[in-house]
Amino acid sequence: MDAFKLMKELRVNYEQEAHYLPRETGLRLIESTTEDDSRISAKCRDAKVEDVWSLTSFFGYSTQTFVLAVNLLDRFLAMIRIQPKHLSCVSVSCLHMAAKVTEEECNLAPPVELIRIGQCRFTASDLCRMEKIVAEKLNFKSKAVTALTFLDLYHQIALSHCTDGKEILSLEKLEAQLKACLCRISFSKAKPSVLALSLLRQEIHAVQSEDMLEIACHIQRHLKITDAELRLWSERVARRLSDYSSPECSKPNHRKLQWIVSRRTAQNLHSYRTVPELPTIPEHCWDESESEDSCEDVMSSGEESLSSSLGSDAEGPYFPLHLRRQHLHA
């Protein structure tokens, strides 16, 4: 697509994006909720979105599917108050719906498999029902305008202007960064066009390309995005990305995961941890240079040494010193 057409498409999407924004009041409500059993909190939602990402990645779905799924999820959560115990069902429904739109039919994982791998507690029919509810509440239309839409367009525009654009700006990296941002609910408050532009600028700064920067400014002017708004989100994006790539790993909460193994493997798992029946026999060092005292038992297992329990071993007074030195081959 030539530059002109791209810009036009950009405009069209820009005008439409407001339709697909989650209700800000709803999002704020979630953000302000503390950990509670009756309401969804930000932490809750973020953890669930990360699970959705794990599933997306595992089943080989595209980033597009993920972004769409998160969009559906946030829009639904901002509108409807649900209990945390249903969050799992809602999120997987959104994923499945998004996958049906984006992915080829042959690549679609069956709902049963989604549920099994995701270790979910609900059934396939629950999933089906939830999908209908979500679709109904969101007046679900296949194509949603998301940050990825814009990111894609920006990338194409940048490439069309620079010949070596492909080497400098990697769409995959941008997608990964977008994914990192979407795992935090605060970024759902941003307008997709602004979020995408922030990400673009962030990457352009990283690769230090003057040409690209010009293009980014051009886009900003074209869409009439204010400096203030752009700055706000750029800061947040920068902070999020630096957190994301920091070496401090989040401790994997593997207690949440179930490890199911076959019976035979389970039987053999701890067969080695047998307590040895025979008490330890300490080695005696008979080196000439070492004194008698240093030859004390090296007790490691805390069990009674044979020699002490039976009295008559080499250490006692019975065994004359000069003879002890002669019999040195222990």
Binding site: S54, S57, F58, G60, R116, I117, Q119, E172, K173, A176, K179, Y244, S245, P247, C249, S250, K251, P252, N253, H254, L257, Q258, W259, I260, V261, S262, R264, T265, N268, L269, S271, Y272, T274, P276, E277, L278, P279, T280, I281, P282, E283, H284, C285, W286, D297, V298, M299, S300, S301, L306, S307, L310, G311, S312, D313, A314, Y318, H327, H329, A330
Partner: protein, 513 residues
């Protein structure tokens, strides 16, 4: 038990009916025999507890001598009365030595050891079943166990008696005694081996002068087992004794012990019958590593060298042992072996045998191992990633697929950016591979088409082709076929130079990570 003929087998396995018939007969064997042909009857002696203390010594000796008479247990009807007298006497002797003090006078030692030697030291009978499979078949038990058991019991009580003096005993319990004792470990009877184990353990503990000899002999037994015979029934018991010895090693470890670990214990893992003694062997190895962590690297490298390639049951055992080693490993040592180890683990998780894959994946349920991986995630994740991702799509077993999800999710949470990078480069690699496959297919198609066109060419123009002369120095006269084929080949090779170059160009660009 005679060997099973082929007609009694189905698919190489013995028919169930045959196996059942075999099991009915409780197999017993013995090589004990009586030297005298005339039946000798034992005359019962008075009870020790009834004898006055002045006569007890003499009576004790008499009873010991009486017990030197051997009886034939393969014959279940002869000498029943005498057998019973001997049994009762042995019982009495066991009690006498266990409960009384001041019994072990110097003069009794030779009598005691003589009685013991006479009763237990014998050449073991050859196995009735040449294909004896310790896991499947019933072992051949010692027929004279009713007596032999008591003799062993007596020997044990003798050694454990508070008045026992190794300095006196060592005249009789010497190298020859120990050597004969060790040979008995090859007995098929597990009860006998159990006694021997405890007895040898006590002897090792008490006779410091014999320790080096015992270790050397065990060394020899194992080496013979590994490299020559692959047969010895007492490996597990000997390893159990060794475990308690290793546990007591003084630090720093002597070179002799380290040699033993590397030259004997590690190669012992290659034995076919590993399943019979693996638990004890693994325990010994882990004990060594707890004593001296610097041995970790050679041990793991040794295990990797002997990693089973065709026996899945063994592979599962090896994985279990690796987990035990990792449970006690020091982080600095871990860093040294993480790369070769995880390369092997990544092969294991992709193993089509579900038990191997399962066991390897289950490592990620071990908190300590997880913490080690986390610390070294930048080295470990790239090694594991490709394998895990591939089997998440390809493995036939759904349980494995679910476990892979757990592992991938755990790894993802450890380092998101690295995971993202690996995902995208993996996908890029797959794309490249697919493209190469397509190109290869197209190349073959082209070749097919060229073949048809160049065979037409050859028929018209048989001498002018450049390649023919080079290929056909020797085959001028008869082989028109060869000429045609090589001409085709020459034509084809010259035609296809360009596509080859372009493929080579693709291959030369490295896969960036």
């Amino acid at each position: 038990m005679s060997a099973i003929s082929a007609s009694e087998k189905v698919d190489g396995f013995t028919r169930k009916s045959m196996r059942k018939a075999q099991k009915q007969r409780k197999s017993q064997g013995s090589s004990q025999y009586r030297t005298q042909s005339a039946p000798v009857e034992l005359s019962p002696l008075p009870q020790l507890k009834d004898a006055p203390s002045t006569e007890q010594q003499e009576l004790f000796t008499q009873k010991l001598q009486q017990c030197c008479m051997l009886f034939d247990f393969m014959d279940s009807v002869t000498d029943l009365k005498s057998k019973e007298i001997k049994r009762a006497t042995l019982n009495e002797l066991v009690d006498y030595v266990s409960t009384n003090r001041g019994v072990l006078v110097e003069t009794t030692y030779p009598e005691i050891t003589t009685m013991i030697c006479t009763n237990i030291f014998r050449t073991l009978p050859p196995s009735d079943n040449p294909d004896f499979d310790p896991e499947e078949d019933e072992p051949t038990l010692e027929a004279s166990w009713p007596h032999v058991q008591l003799v062993y019991e007596f020997l044990l009580r003798f050694l454990e008696n508070p008045d026992f003096q190794p300095s006196i005993a060592k005249r009789h319990i010497d190298q020859k005694f120990v050597l004969q004792l060790l040979e008995l470990f090859d007995s098929e009877d597990p009860r006998e081996r159990d006694f021997l184990k405890t007895i040898l353990h006590r002897i090792y503990g008490k006779f410091l002068g014999l320790r080096a000899f015992i270790r050397k002999q065990i060394n020899n037994i194992f080496l013979r087992f590994i490299y020559e015979t692959e047969h010895f029934n007492g490996v597990a018991e000997l390893l159990e004794i060794l475990g308690s010895i290793i546990n007591g090693f003084a630090l720093p470890l002597k070179a002799e012990h380290k040699q033993f670990l590397m030259k004997v214990l590690i190669p012992l893992h290659t034995a076919k019958a590993l399943a019979l003694f693996h638990a004890q062997l693994a325990y010994c190895v882990v004990q060594f590593l707890e004593k001296d962590p610097t041995l970790t690297e050679p041990v793991i490298r040794g295990l990797l060298k002997f990693w089973p390639k065709t026996c899945s049951q063994k592979e599962v055992m090896f994985l279990g042992e690796i987990e035990e080693i990792l449970d006690v490993i020091e982080p600095t040592q871990f860093k040294k072996i993480q790369e070769p180890l995880f390369k092997q683990i990544s092969k294991c998780v992709a193993n089509p045998h579900f038990q191997v894959a399962e066991r390897a994946l289950y490592f990620w349920n071990n908190e300590y191992i997880l913490s080690l991986i986390e610390e070294n995630i930048d080295k470990v994740l790239p090694i594991m990633f490709g394998s895990l991702y591939r089997i998440s799509k390809e493995h036939w077993n759904p349980t494995i697929v679910a476990l892979v999800y757990n592992v991938l999710k755990t790894l993802m949470e450890m380092n998101c950016t690295l995971f993202d990078e690996l995902t995208s480069s993996y996908k890029a690699d797959r794309q490249r591979e697919k493209k190469k496959e397509q190109e290869r297919d197209e190349l073959w198609k082209e070749l097919d088409e060229l073949r048809l066109s160049s065979s037409a060419l050859v028929q018209n123009n048989s001498h002018g082709l450049p390649g023919v002369q080079n290929n056909n120095n020797n085959n001028n006269s008869n082989n028109n076929d060869t000429q045609d084929k090589s001409a085709e080949a020459a034509a084809v090779t010259s035609e296809n130079k360009d596509p080859d170059d372009s493929v080579a160009a693709n291959e030369s660009s490295p896969c960036a990570k």
